[in-house]
Each structure stands twice: as C-alpha cells, then as structure tokens.
C-alpha cells in the first residue's frame, strides 16, 4: 500500500521536474516545479517526517515559488528564445548530464548495509541514537510532539553547525543584495 503511494508520488515528482525543464513558458515551469516540491513533501510525510514535509510546503511551495511567480509576473516574461541552443549549450548539457550520471551511479552503489557500515566508522559529533531518538523508535508517528523531536537535536546537539549554516545563508543573502544593487 505504502509502496504504491510512494511510486505514484515519485512519478509525479520526476514528471514535474522533467516538465519544469521542458516547458517554454516560465510560469508553467514554475508550476511544474511546485508539483515536484509538493510531491517531495508528500514523500517526506510518507516516511514519517511530517514536520520536514510541512516545512517543505511552507518554505518552497508557499514562499520561494510564490516569489518566483511574482517576479515572472512582474517582468511579464513571455515565451522567449533560449540562449543555450548553440554548441556551447549542448557541450554544457553533456558535461552536466555526465556529472549527474556519475553521481547517480555512486548513489546506486549505496545499500543500506554499506550506509550503516560507513556511519559506524565515521567520526561522530554525537551518537545519532541520542540525537534522534524518535527516528529509531516505532513511536515516530504516534508521538504527538513532532517539533520537539527535531528541535532538541537541532538546538542542543548540533547547535554550532546550525548557527554556522544560518550565518552562511545570511552572508549569501547580503552578498546577493550587494551584487544586484551596487548603490543601496
């Protein structure tokens, strides 16, 4: 039952991603990207990670893609010819597809047993079993407090990496503003 639902959602995600690239109209591309993001959120929920799923919807579908749509509508972009049709474009496409293929091949080699072995050998910041107790128990779905399960490791065990990530994102946002607007 769960597998059938997963394959439906996975197909929706892949088809959405493909159509996002293939569509000529920017609005249609943005909408297909929304389909992909929403399917991914549903897959997260299927895995029992309800909070991650809903945050995916809240952030990507509810905010980021709405901003995309907003900008596309504001500039009123229409069906424009692509700049990537020349030999350079084809070359870049081949390189990117090759890299992705290598990456996918590497991921394909990952069996659950190999993943468990590598996790066991890796130097650890903290025992993941201590950090994510809910993920290992059968109560992951049944416990009502999904926020605490995520917040406790995030703000206690992994506080420093979390803060560093947020500072990095802030730096990226400031950098984008500086690059886009020389005179503020």
């Amino acid at each position: 039952m769960t597998e059938i639902v997963f394959y439906i959602l996975a197909a929706a995600a892949v088809v959405g991603a493909a159509l996002c690239v293939l569509q000529r109209s920017p609005i249609a591309s943005a909408l297909w990207l929304m389909t992909t993001m929403f399917s991914l959120a549903c897959i997260f929920v299927l895995l029992g990670a309800q909070l991650i799923g809903i945050l995916q919807v809240l952030v990507y579908v509810g905010a980021v893609l709405v901003l995309f749509l907003f900008v596309v509508m504001l500039l009123n972009l229409s069906h424009e010819g692509s700049d990537l049709r020349g030999p350079w474009g084809v070359g870049a496409a081949v390189v990117v597809i090759g890299l992705l293929a290598v990456e996918l091949f590497g991921l394909w080699q990952y069996t659950p047993a190999r993943l468990a072995r590598e996790v066991a050998q890796a130097p650890q910041l903290a025992d993941p079993r201590l950090a994510f107790p809910a993920a290992l128990s059968m109560h992951a779905v049944a416990t009502p407090n999904v926020v605490e399960d995520l917040a406790a490791p995030l703000f206690q065990t992994y506080l420093i990496p979390f803060e560093v990530t947020s500072v990095l994102l802030l730096a990226a946002a400031v950098g984008a503003v500086v690059l886009a607007k020389r005179r503020i």
Partner: protein
C-alpha cells in the same frame, strides 16, 4: 485490514462528508449574512424576497451562477484560467479538516457489513477529520498555497487590472505570512506543542491564551485579515482602483468559486482564532465539558460554533466600518510594525517563560498565565498608546518630505 482500521476509515469518511457539507452550507449562508450585516449597518433591509427573510437567497445566487454563460477573455491562457479558481478553492476547503470542532466523542461499535467484513471502533473519537501532530503548521502551509489561485487568476486573465490584483495579492500574502507565523511562536512556547488538541488541553489547565498572549492574538488577527484579503486589506480586489482585481474577467461558477474560497478562508481564520486564543471548544471554569460523553460533545460543539460565529461577525463588522488602507500603508504596517512587534514579542515571552518556569519555579499554569497577563497589560498599553502615532501608517498629508515642511492642504479654489 483489521476491523479497527476499517472502523477508523468509516468514521473518517463520515466526518469528511459532514465537515465538507457543513463548510459548504455555512459558506453559502455567510454570503447572505454578509449582505444582511452590511444592510443592518447601513440601515437598509438587505435581501428579503427569496424564502423566509431571504434565507434562500444563496440558493438563488448559486442557481444563477451555474446557469450563467462562461466567458473567456481573448488571448487568455485557457488552462491556467480554468485551473486558478480550483487552486484557490481546494486549499481553502482542506483547512477545516484539522481543527477540533468539539470535545472528543466516546464511540463504541462493532458490526459486520456483508462482503465488506467487520467494522469496530472503541474509545474516544476526536471530532475533527484528522488530528495531525503538525497542527497549525499544516494550516499555515496549506493556506499559503491559496495565493497560487489568486496570482494565476490575475496573470492568466490577460488584463492589466487582473495582473495588478494578482501581483498585489502575492506580495501581500507573502508579507503577512511572516508576521502570522511569528505571532504563533509564543503559542508554541506556552503550550510546547503545535497540535491543536494539546493547545486546547493546555488552555483548559490555565487561562485562555488571549490573556497571556494578547499581542500575539492582535498580530494574528490583523495578519488574518490580510491573509484572507478582507477589508481593510482587500487591496487585490479594490474595486475603486482595479474594478474587481484578480477576478475581474471571471464569470459564472468560476467567479463564485473565488467567493467560496474567500469565505472558507474567513471561517478557517476565525476557527484558528477561537482555537488558539479562546480555548477552542472549552467551556471556562468548569470541567464537565472534559468528562467525555454525547451531551458534552454537543454542548462544546455549540460553544465552539458560537465563538467562531462571533469572530465571523467581527470580520464583517470591521469590513463595513473601516476604510481601505493605501498600498504603501499596508506594506509599512506589515513589515515595519507587525513583523518587528511579533519578533520582539517572541523574545519577551521566551524570556518571561524562562524566568517564571526555571528561575522562579512556578509550575502552575494559572499563576504563569496571570503573570504573563499582567506583563501583557503593560506591553499592550505601550503598543497602543505610545507606538505608532501616525509614524508608519498615516494619511498622505502627513508624509514628510525631508528638509521641507509639508505644504498646507489647499481647500477650495
């Protein structure tokens, strides 16, 4: 499937049908209520010809909208033009499914139904379609999807008024979503959970959250008005500037789907206000309503209905009382007043709960609530008396040009 699972599925389907029917009927009656309330406020009669006291007016409107011709603007994007009403309609109707409507009902049955096999359910049944552990985050996420319908309606109509309406809607909804989300963090701080059932249970143990979290309630209510595009924030459809905004080009049933979505969103926001800040189905001071039984479920359901009904009336009251904001005023209010206020309030409440719980060791939720209420009285007076005396949101004659005194208003010729 086990009989228990089948029983659960059966109950869920029944609840789905009941909630959907109640919301659709309620929305239809709300259109009538809006016209009646506006008529009452403007000292007129309102619709009173169809049925007793005009009660069948929504049915007549619905029939008219189904029979009307569907028109398509020239050069419109057909697919998106058709998709847009559905995209605003579906999220609006999804939201009512997660809000508890009454005290849990004890259900106990076991029967066999021909080829379908045995059905069984024992224990308390929550009176809501799905008691999600992610609670109000679900409402925030799904309601943020409603903007797609409005934005796409504006873009696909191929009309400048619609496009402006759609642009305004997406900018406004994104701006106020931030303040709305931040205003709910103090609720999470006090209750320790995002699930609606836990939030209601916490409010039964202490005071309703409107007292200890008054400013949160205020920010949430104001952002709720903006999120549902209701006056005084109905800039996306401001009829004096944009004809009808994003739904200018729509006719017949597609047009009324936008209205159903708008009223369903109003119902959801009012249910959220009643649940998060006014105890949900809780009856204050007595514990009979938590005892579990058929009668408490019915009575708490009625109490919840009354609370929601009051807030719906409040929304209409505001609509027919206040004038519309200007667009820059709307944006200033969202980004310069509500957002900093909500952020500062999160810190204040976080510090206060820490001091009360971990330093002073007061565990009783009643005492904690009353201390926070006292704090809120001071903060509320500060916010409403001192802050923003026309500094951010003001009429155009008060806008100052730097280095020059404002020109006096010219009156007459």
């Amino acid at each position: 499937m086990t009989p228990e699972m089948k029983g659960f599925l059966l109950l869920t389907v029944i609840k789905l049908i009941v909630v959907f029917t109640v919301i659709m009927t309620g929305v239809a009656l709300l259109t009538l209520m809006e016209r009646k309330v506006s008529a009452w406020m403007q000292n007129r009669m309102g619709p009173n010809r169809v049925g007793i006291a005009g009660l069948l007016q929504p049915a007549a409107d619905g029939l008219k909208n189904i029979l009307k011709e569907e028109t398509y603007p020239a050069e419109a994007n057909r697919v998106l033009f058709l998709l847009a009403p559905a995209l605003s309609f579906i999220p609006a109707l999804l939201l009512a499914a997660v809000i508890p409507l009454a005290a849990p009902l004890p259900v106990d049955f076991a029967f066999t139904l021909g080829p379908l096999g045995a059905f069984a359910y024992h224990g308390l049944m929550p009176v809501q379609v799905a008691d999600l552990p992610i609670g109000f985050l679900f409402v925030l996420a799904i309601s943020s999807m409603g903007v797609y319908g409005i934005a796409l309606a504006g873009w696909s109509s191929n009309s400048k008024y619609s496009l402006l309406g759609g642009l305004r809607a997406s900018a406004q909804l994104i701006s106020y979503e931030v303040a709305m989300g931040l205003s709910l963090i103090p609720v999470l701080l006090l209750s320790g959970n995002v699930s609606f059932s836990v939030i209601i249970a916490e409010q039964q143990r202490g005071p309703w959250y409107v007292l200890p979290l008054f400013l949160s309630f205020f920010v949430f209510l104001v952002s709720g008005f903006a999120e549902t595009n209701r006056l005084p924030f109905d800039l996306p459809e401001a009829e004096s500037e944009l004809i009808a905004g994003y739904h200018t080009e729509y006719s017949a049933m597609k047009f009324s789907m936008f209205f159903i979505a708008e009223y369903a969103n109003v119902v959801t926001v009012c249910m959220m206000v009643a649940t998060l800040f006014f105890g949900g189905w809780d009856i204050p001071f007595i514990h009979w309503d938590e005892s579990g039984g058929v009668l408490p479920t019915i009575v708490t359901g009625l109490i919840f209905f009354l609370k929601v009904f009051f807030w719906i009336f409040f929304v209409m009251w505001i609509r027919w009382t206040l004038p519309r904001f200007r667009y820059d005023q709307l944006m200033s209010l969202g980004w310069k007043v509500l957002l900093p206020m909500a952020l500062a309030y999160v810190m204040v409440i976080g510090l206060a709960t820490y001091l009360i719980g971990d330093v002073a060791h007061i565990a009783s939720p009643v005492t904690r609530g009353l201390i926070l209420f006292a704090l809120n009285l001071v903060l509320g007076c500060g916010v409403f008396l001192v802050l923003d005396r026309g500094n951010v949101v003001s009429g155009s004659e008060r806008r100052r040009v730097p280095g020059r005194r404002a020109a006096p208003l010219r009156v007459g010729g």
